[in-house]
């Protein structure tokens, strides 16, 4: 019993309040020196000056679902520009009564992407469900079968178009980039120089000029009367462009592989394809996950450049709403909404890459 009392007394001795708990944390992190104290105070001042007015503007005084005239009268943000035009911003020219089709296609895409998150799901059934899902999405967007009204690709727009350009752009650019990287390190001079020339040519021009070429110059070379779908042209330009960048990143990974790995694979009697598929690429691709993801993210954002060739992606539909006199001038609200959309896309990509890295423990290398 006596020893228990001693224990009690020891526990009664708490450290001073100013060293632990909230106050301690504040002291050691925010006010541990005159410079940091000053910075803290300045930051606090800026926050107090900006956050409450922003909240007042964005939420308290905001108009959520009114006409443009009512918006002009109010002091706060005019979210009506988004809510009133949401269907046009999201779906563009897709026939109004058929909006459920792109919506369903997008939901399918998200479900498939979500299922593909877990590597334990990477089994044949997932592959087949992608095949079925892609076919179903194509059918939903295009129509023309099973009693679905046909919808031309020129009427596609908004978010489905952005997703189409980015998901397919990235999905096609990645393998192409890997092939180019392997080609650039090939022992066959013809293939090597071809890949070098391709990569350097594409990397030497900005994406905008590629899009311009695809949309303006390319059709002039085609024989009269033959035209190639505008979306397809932009899609190809995006794929070619992104692939060149991925190729260089992957090459970095390939060069990081110690020579011993190649030699070990060869001494096991593996041929070139087996060496690459079983030994080199799994390791190399793992190393380059972070730079690859940043390229994929920037490619996702770059799809908005199709605005300059007048494809109505989600940025262009928003801009188009803003040129309507009723909604002119509410660009802040509309662009904040767009920024949120893009942020969601980019953030989930980088989130996923962190998860993947952890699972593959690439960080340890």
């Amino acid at each position: 019993m006596a020893s228990a009392e001693v224990h009690d007394k020891i526990e009664d001795l708490k450290p001073p309040v100013i060293q632990v708990g909230v106050i301690g944390w504040i002291r050691s992190n925010l006010f541990n020196g005159w410079l940091n104290s000053l910075l803290t105070l300045v930051t606090l001042y800026i926050l107090i000056k900006t956050v409450p007015p922003f909240i007042r503007w964005a939420f308290l005084d905001a108009a959520w679902n009114t006409s443009g005239q009512a918006c002009r009268a109010s002091q706060g943000a005019c979210w009506s520009v988004v809510t009133k035009n949401l269907r046009f911003i999201i779906f563009g020219f897709y026939p109004y009564h058929l909006h459920w089709r792109p919506l369903l296609a997008m939901i399918m895409l998200f479900v498939l992407l979500f299922l593909s998150r877990e590597r334990t799901n990477w089994k044949p059934w997932l592959f087949y469900s992608w095949l079925v899902g892609l076919a179903a999405m194509g059918l939903l967007m295009r129509g023309g079968l099973l009693g679905l009204e046909p919808v031309e690709s020129s009427q596609w727009g908004g978010l489905p178009l952005t997703l189409l350009l980015s998901v397919f752009g990235l999905a096609a650019a990645y393998p192409l980039g890997v092939v180019l990287a392997l080609g650039r390190r090939s022992r066959m001079p013809a293939i090597r120089y071809l890949c070098v020339v391709y990569i350097e040519l594409i990397r030497g021009v900005p994406l905008i000029s590629l899009l311009f070429m695809a949309s303006i110059i390319f059709p002039l070379f085609l024989p009269e009367g033959l035209t190639i779908n505008k979306i397809l042209r932009a899609q190809v330009a995006i794929i070619l462009f992104t692939a060149a960048y991925i190729a260089e990143v992957v090459r970095g990974g390939l060069q990081a592989m110690p020579k011993g790995q190649y030699e070990a694979a060869e001494s096991l009697g593996l041929n070139y394809y087996q060496t690459m598929r079983l030994v080199i690429l799994p390791q190399a691709l793992k190393i380059v996950i972070p730079p690859t993801v940043s390229i994929l993210i920037s490619a996702f954002k770059d799809t908005s450049l199709v605005v300059i060739i007048a494809l109505f992606d989600v940025l262009k539909t928003t801009q188009s709403v803003l040129s309507n006199p009723e909604w002119m001038g509410f660009s802040r609200e509309a662009y904040i909404f767009l920024a949120l959309l893009y942020f969601l896309g980019c953030f989930s990509m980088s989130n996923y890459s962190r998860k993947l890295e952890k699972e593959l423990s690439a960080g340890e290398l």
Binding site: Y96, I216, P219, L220, G329
Partner: protein, 337 residues
């Protein structure tokens, strides 16, 4: 092996392409729809509405062409184009007609190999100023700061105007229309210059539109007209006379509402126009009901104007130069005979 395959594909593509070298009218008929290039972000001229349906004066002009060719104004596919894309798109055959507020100029007709048909909107560059400056004429703008979009004829016209009148000016160049408006309404410049039709739209979104006035001077001529390719005279005639038909119908007092009644009119001009007396449509290679279809489905020029840009729209434009010649404007159709 791969090279051989590639060659086969290329030859096949060429063969496929050479089939469709017939006239534009036959092409359009074979396709079953008209492809019209439009702007896509000019309210009142060509812009999608909330439901993604195309609306505007240029859009209705293209619809009129479709009504003339197919008897169905909805057989049009609109291709939104940027200022840079519009002429190559027409040259390469990606579109059949361009209705994208394009100014008719000499070099565009000659160097670019294009033909402009009858003008469907007479525009011109003007100035918008705040009322409180008390300015009555553009000649009083000496030393003004002027908000203007870069890289357009607008900027050059303004420079020409100020130089030729011996006045100084300070351009404030802002790339984006929305930002340009904001700068002007925030008082960063004394006046805003653009095409008069645009200025009307910009004024309508001012915090208080009555605080701003349009100056009377119009400093440039901007005849906006639909465009077709050189070298297909039949197609040129069809598009040209479609625009004229819109104007002629207004002059004859035929509207989308009374067109059926007008079929019984005793006036020989109206009988010829609506195809009651046959001949006009055949001469163009179209159905004799072509003009009837246009007016019935799209309306005459006056109706199109009032519906899209007229006094009761947010743009609130007066007819001005776009009134009929009988009412002091420039809209004048050659006789239908």
């Amino acid at each position: 092996m791969k090279l051989a395959k590639l060659l086969i594909v290329m030859v096949a593509v060429l063969a496929l392409a050479s089939v469709s070298m017939a006239g534009t009218l036959d092409d359009v008929r074979a396709k079953g729809y008209l492809r019209a290039g439009v702007n896509g972000s000019v309210f009142g001229f060509s812009m999608p509405d909330k439901k993604g349906v195309w609306k505007g004066l240029d859009v209705d002009t293209a619809k009129a062409v479709a009504a003339a060719v197919f008897g169905d104004a909805n057989k049009v596919k609109f291709v939104p184009l940027t200022a840079v894309q519009r002429l190559p798109a027409l040259q390469s055959g990606e579109i059949d007609v361009l209705c994208r507020n394009t100014t008719q100029t000499l070099t565009r007709e000659t160097k670019n190999g294009l033909n402009f048909v009858h003008v469907n909107y007479y525009d011109g560059q003007g100035f918008l100023v705040p009322k409180k400056l008390g300015i009555k004429s553009a000649k009083e703008l000496d030393g003004a700061t002027v908000c203007v979009l870069p890289g357009t004829t607008t900027e050059m016209n303004a420079a020409d105007y100020f130089r030729s009148h011996g006045m100084k000016w300070k351009p404030v160049v802002i790339e984006n229309t929305a930002e340009l408006n904001k700068a002007f309404f925030a008082g960063r410049c004394d006046c805003l210059t653009s095409d008069a039709s645009q200025l009307a739209a910009q004024r309508s979104v001012a915090p208080n539109p009555k605080d701003y006035v349009l100056l009377p001077e119009i400093i440039s001529k901007e005849p906006l007209a639909p465009v077709v390719r050189h070298g297909d005279d039949q197609w040129y005639d069809i598009v040209n006379w479609t625009v004229m038909a819109l104007i002629e119908a207004e002059e004859l007092g035929i509207t989308s509402k009374n067109v059926d009644k007008m079929l019984k009119s005793k006036n020989p001009q109206i009988q010829r126009f609506l195809g009651v007396t046959p001949g006009m449509g055949k001469a163009l290679g179209l159905d004799d009901k072509w003009a009837y279809n246009i007016i019935k489905q799209v309306g005459n020029y006056g109706e199109i104007f009032e519906r899209n840009v007229g006094v009761n729209t947010p743009l609130g434009l007066e007819r001005g130069l776009n009134a009929l010649w009988t009412k002091g404007g420039l809209m004048y159709a050659a006789p239908f005979r």
